[in-house]
């Protein structure tokens, strides 16, 4: 990878509620190159959204607190910036779109007003110029008859159209990095396909990087180049998309992949199996994470291989580098065992 656009080092974010301190993001680090897409994957509560919000410093403090780490964007540590300097970066160099297009637009203003507001916050545009730009942006994201729709209120648009407006707003200052937090989860599959195609197309045209947060492995396979898998606040695996699907190194990642019905159907050929392989148990509570490897209680690999189980339950594994620029947090990564 050439010089990274965004580099996160040892990021730790905590939440304190009722005297209890919980590490929602625990020593997370990864980088995103220019014009590339990184997917951040994991189940609910694993810390993927908190990671994204920490990058933009959008968390309410308290209860949240960024304990340590660095977020280097174009060489600057965002965590050390003044709030006013940070405000200049948000929405300009780094933009974000959210899961719920219904709730992230203000219902009492027209979409044009909201886009113009975003443009004029960062650019020295007159209202008129900004309005012309807003119409251009709406055209860019594929909203038909944009010059009329610019005066619509959010309730007059469908969910897919609202997400397009959110994207238009995010792109208003041509950001270097777009953070997309589950942008298609609330949408139907045919609309999801439209939005994903739009994002891919815009990325090629504008040369921006995308941090894509999702739990859908199908989207990861089609959309991203690199993947970071999180589990209970920790990164457990970091590799290229090809490696992840060809040979996942962490037992959790392998379990996740195995439980996707589509993959079972594709691999089983004519006779589909009648059961899905599962990961037993539930995600541990962050307030009281298990000792040792956070996944060890659910890890089938540990039992099957009869590996040193005391090491798994007693010592937390470090994120180690494997061949081919990949990282895994496991005492007995699957690649090595099989090799």
């Amino acid at each position: 990878m050439t010089e990274a656009l965004l580099e996160i080092r040892n990021l730790t974010t905590s939440f304190t509620t009722g005297g209890l301190r919980v590490l929602a993001v625990d020593d997370v680090g990864f980088e995103i190159g220019p014009a590339s897409t990184l997917a951040l994957v994991g189940e609910s509560g694993c810390g993927k959204s908190v990671t994204a919000l920490s990058i933009l410093r959008l968390l309410a403090c308290p209860p949240a607190r960024i304990e340590s780490g660095q977020v280097l964007f174009e060489g600057k540590n965002l965590l050390a910036l003044e709030e006013s300097a940070m405000r200049r970066i948000r929405g300009d160099r780094i933009a974000m779109i959210f899961q719920e297009p219904m709730t992230s637009l203000n219902p009492v203003f027209t979409i044009g007003y909201q886009i113009i507001e975003a443009i004029r916050l960062h650019r020295d545009f007159s209202r008129k110029q900004a309005r012309v730009r807003a119409v251009e942006l709406l055209e860019l994201v594929g909203i038909p008859s944009a010059s009329e729709r610019v005066d619509d209120y959010p309730h007059q648009l469908s969910g897919g159209m609202r997400q397009r407006v959110m994207i238009a707003m995010a792109l208003s200052c041509e950001p270097g990095l777009l953070i997309a937090d589950e942008p298609t989860t609330a949408l139907d599959v045919t609309v999801q396909a439209q939005i994903l195609e739009l994002l891919g197309d815009l990325q090629r045209r504008l040369g921006m990087s995308i941090l894509f947060i999702t739990h859908d492995l199908g989207i990861v396979a089609e959309f991203a180049e690199r993947v970071v898998v999180m589990y209970a606040g920790r990164i457990v695996e970091d590799c290229s998309v090809g490696d992840l699907f060809r040979a996942p190194a962490h037992p959790y990642t392998r379990g996740l992949l195995a439980s996707v019905p589509a993959r079972i159907l594709a691999q089983s050929g004519t006779e589909p199996p009648r059961r899905l392989p599962t990961i037993e148990g539930v995600v541990p509570s962050l307030g009281n994470p298990p000792a040792g490897c956070r996944f060890h209680e659910r890890c089938r690999h540990r039992i099957e291989l009869q590996v040193d189980t005391e090491r798994c339950s007693g010592v937390e594994p470090k994120l180690v580098e494997l061949r081919g620029a990949r990282h895994v947090r496991c005492h007995f990564p699957l690649l090595e065992v099989e090799a």
């Binding site: 089609e222 037992p251 009648r274 059961r275």
Partner: protein, 347 residues
Amino acid sequence: MTARAISEQTKTVPEAPEQPQLLEPLIEISGLTRTFTVTDGFFGQPRRVFAVDNVSFRIAPGETLGLVGESGCGKTTLGRAMLRLIEPSEGRIHLHGRDITHLAARELRQVRRQMQIIFQDPFSSLDPRMTIHQIIAEPLRIHRLCPDRASESALIHGLLEQVGLKLEALDRYPHEFSGGQRQRIGIARALAVRPEFIVCDEPLSALDVSIQAQVINLLLDLRDSLGVGYLFISHDLEVVRFLSHRVAVMYLGRVVEIGATRVVTERPAHPYTQALLSAVPVAEPGRQRRRLMLEGDIPSPLCPPIGCSFHPRCPRRVPGTCDSKVPEMRQLEADTQRQVACHFPEV
């Protein structure tokens, strides 16, 4: 996990017959329609919206019919209308050959023993002030299925075991459980009265991927061991493919294609089914399908398009036919029982 381990976990059970509908149907609906009346403002003309429009199909004992479609297409309304949780406006529902469309409340309660529902949201479908024991016991008491407390407790213990929960759960309240566990409680409650037919209304969509797989396996086990028939409502096509013997695809209140899962998902004939299938991202890098991209959004059911309701988004529409005539449901091939509502299906 090794390949051997996977094959061990996925103990293959003999596959259910491809076309169990040759048996006597468990439940059959014909021409089922549900309309709602909508008025625009105080002086507006009342208008009828067809949430479910003339839907007919049957489900055999032990069979799973998957019902897919995008939000607002009427799949939940259809599922509830089949149980008469929403009263149908027109059409007939037969359970074991008996017409239950107009049964009075008392008789309907008897029939409800045979048909149950599992809801989408495991957080709002359990009463927060009842213990798990009370939640599961309630249907048993309503239907007076247990002569005494001892047999009731024994039955509830059996149910908990069946859905994979520990006995400690009994005296606890819903908020103490995770989403997956609550969904298991909802399933235990539905199973308590030993129903033959269960409507599963998006039972997985509130759950994480690794938990989804556990609940899918549970539903499969129950089908295999108890012979329950399911109407499995979902927007997740892959899950439906995995679970269902047959699939029905809904668009704006109508079923546009129905048939054996393999036939419908591998050789879809309706352009909407084709678009829906090709829109699903594949978890296999480099294996991207050719995508059939639909234009626009689903039209509002308040003013559905004239003719085929899919024609404004259809890449194969033929002006003069598709925008004027409503396509009738018809059987495509002689051998498969697939039916399609399209003027120009792809064969």
